[in-house]
């Protein structure tokens, strides 16, 4: 207790000295950065990176669950099996479809809502809450609900489609691969819009009003102000959100599990549902780990590509 009390002024003084000393740049380069980063990074290293490393080892083993049973190393066999497994390829294709269908609408609708709800207006909080409701409603509940909506014979969706004459007989939405993926994607958009909206609201909150006013006085219309004032400011956030949405889309899980179970006959498996099945139904943890790392590899590559593309666009526009 006493030690703690006396320690803090010492740190503060050392801090002052180091920033004021001639070797300021060195001070800046060294200790403070580590002090800020270390606590979080150590925690992260312990509970995420260390287990992740063990999972990596697992992916090269025929993993035996029971302690005391040796898990033999089998080299790249789990990875080789993954490449030959047709369901793996299908699951990646399904999640790619999901990303392509869900990410752009989430971004665009999220942005529209954020812009509409950024400025002060009556009932702003009310609307902000309403649009965020899907994000906080449990996956179990919304998945069940979308299962109803897309039911073949009694579903609301088919009822609408047949009554306006778009289709002549009921569509078996959840019984076929792409229609089922589309149904799950619609749920993804619906549930994700509020999430993008919230981050974009936070980003818009930083747009300078002075700049907006100056642009307005110069006669710039709403659209031009958005293009030249707002957009440059939130571009970084948009890139961040896109990367996170793509990452999230490739990791889609509960909606598939609850709406189609990956079926019929693995037609709608996505990487995570298939990994879950391998690990927790078949107890094939080595294979599940290999699939996890394959997925991680794709996520990293795709994120890097997006990051690179964003940098390129930024440089062009400058």
């Amino acid at each position: 207790m006493t030690a703690a009390v006396t320690a803090s002024p010492t740190i503060a003084r050392a801090d002052l000295v180091s920033t004021r000393s001639p070797g300021r740049r060195r001070g800046r380069a060294g200790l403070p950065g580590y002090v800020f980063v270390a606590p979080g990074f150590l925690a992260y290293g312990l509970v995420v990176l260390w287990p992740a490393l063990q999972a990596l080892v697992m992916s090269f083993q025929q993993y035996k669950l029971r302690k005391g049973l040796a898990s033999p190393f089998i080299g790249w066999a789990n990875y080789a099996r993954a490449i030959q497994d047709p369901v793996v390829l299908r699951s990646f294709a399904n999640s790619a479809f999901y990303v392509l269908v869900t990410v752009p609408p989430q971004l665009i609708i999220g942005l529209v809502l954020a812009i509409l709800l950024d400025k002060a207006m009556p009932a702003r909080t009310f609307f902000r809450v309403l649009f965020y409701l899907p994000v906080i409603t449990s996956w179990v509940v919304v998945s069940l609900l979308f299962k109803w909506l897309f039911a073949t014979d009694d579903g609301v969706f088919n009822w609408i489609l047949t009554s306006i004459g778009l289709v002549s007989h009921n569509v078996d939405w959840l019984g076929q691969r792409w229609t089922a993926m589309l149904a799950v994607s619609l749920l993804g958009i619906w549930k994700g819009v509020g999430w993008s909206m919230l981050i974009l609201l936070a980003s818009l909150a930083g747009v300078s009003e002075d700049l907006h006013e100056a642009a307005a006085i110069d006669g710039a219309g709403t659209w031009r102000r958005f293009l030249y004032v707002t957009l440059p400011h939130i571009r970084g956030t948009v890139v961040t959100i896109t990367i996170l949405l793509v990452m999230g889309g490739l990791n889609v899980f509960p909606s598939i599990l609850l709406m189609t179970g990956g079926g019929p006959a693995d037609a709608t498996q996505v990487p995570l549902t298939y990994i879950y099945k391998q690990a927790f139904t078949f107890l094939d943890f080595g294979y599940g780990a290999a699939l996890s790392y394959l997925l991680a590899f794709f996520v990293v590559v795709i994120s890097l590509l997006q990051y690179g593309a964003a940098k390129l666009v930024e440089r062009r526009s400058e």
Binding site: A29, P32, F36, P39, R128, V140, A296
Partner: protein, 281 residues
Amino acid sequence: MIVQRRRTRSLGLASRYLILALGAVVLVTPFAFMVSVSLKGRTMLLEVPPRLFFKNPTLDNYVTAWTSNQFGQYFVNSLGVAVATTVLTLLLSSMMAYGFARFRFRGRGAMFTVLILGMSIPGMLLIVPQFLLAKDLQLLNSLPGLLPFYVGGSLAFNTFLLRAFFERIPRELDEAMEIDGAGPWRRYWNLALPLARPALATTAIFTFLGSWDEFAWALTVINDVEKRTLPIGIALFTAEHGTQWGLVFAASVIAVTPVILVYILFQRQIISGLTNGAIKS
């Protein structure tokens, strides 16, 4: 001309409300159905298509959900864990984000890359190694034992998000404070954090929700019935055959309320002009 502008403005406002109202209907309907089913009394099979309005709504499910199964205790447990997780995560991730955004040090790039790489690995397969780790650290079957894993699990995402916001704070402000003699901690605490209030509020909302909703890990490590969290309490109402959906939905509605309150509380921080004002002063 002024009149014309005013007219277009009110027209703009009207169309804004129209779009918002339309969006609200689409987004809220499923939530309304959840509430509707929860008021229906005992239902094992869900009515197809579901009806939004019906005769004789009842609060029975709410009473049963709350009184059976120590639900109140689970609520308190979840609240404690979620609040602690949010506070710790916000502190650690904002420190990390500030460190990455404002300082140069050896291994900075590598550490940030590792952070992002870790985010790409699906957490599902980590559950067994994490379980063994929790066992070694004697964190099994304990509510505070959930914290390291909840905080650790949400650090990367929040750091990633916050760093982007910190980097947009003009460096001149830092330098001005530095000339006034402010050390790194004061610059972080008195300058960066207040300016990043909208971003911090966003991460607080996400972190609270993430911890509040977490199911798989809590289910795996908590054994004592009285230490369980709310999502487990809700899942306990599901059965192999004949789940009482009215109960599940009532429990879900109860579970959503604190999240809405937290959201309302924090979204006040996400307001245009806040940042500008702070920078001016």
